[in-house]
Symmetry: C2
Subunit: 113 residues, 2 copies
């Protein structure tokens, strides 16, 4: 697994870096937020991420899919093609982390203001 290789410091594996790498990317965290309680289509995600280009959405989604955090489903029985994305079990296991970080961010913002 390549994520494992890049997460070493002086030969040791650093799981924290693995996590940060999985979440790293301008749009990944918010994509996970969007998919937390529902599955969404490519165009729905795009609309909900103002400022995100199609190129970037494609890249982030393919990385998340490669990391087995989300899963793509393609419905070819109609044209135009419909695709939808949803969290895998691995992705769902990330939710408590996401919530924890969100709550820390809230506390942090309040503390500094």
């Amino acid at each position: 697994m390549d994520a494992l290789k890049t997460s070493t410091r002086h030969g040791e594996i650093c799981p924290l870096d693995t996590t940060l790498k999985v979440l790293d990317g301008k749009w990944k965290s918010i994509i996970l937020c969007r998919l937390m309680n529902q599955e969404l289509r490519y165009s729905e995600l795009l609309k909900s991420l103002s400022g995100c280009t199609r190129r970037m959405l494609s890249l982030q989604l393919s990385q998340l899919e490669h990391d087995q955090i989300i899963q793509k489903e393609i419905d070819t029985s109609f044209t135009p093609i419909k695709t939808s994305y949803h969290l895998t079990e691995l992705g769902k296991s990330l939710i408590p982390i996401i919530i924890g970080m969100d709550q820390w961010g809230e506390m942090y913002i309040e503390t500094l203001s």
Copy 2:
């Protein structure tokens, strides 16, 4: 889930993004790991981060200090100058998050291997 209501990208504050921004940076997470149980000097940090340049260490440290995650202490009573870095209370409050992400990374690596 309600904690994530504010996680949008339409001009509103996104606490999760705030957290990810604070942690974002090639060396920040591992710097926090290093400072978790001890304070360290600049040169000690540099030695423990193989591959990190002095320039990058300086940048990451100044960002963490600006974000009030770590605190620098300068001892000018001797030459050469001695500086040391340690976590602030805000930085310490990040530890559970770090540990959570580290544990998730461990599980993730094991699951995929």
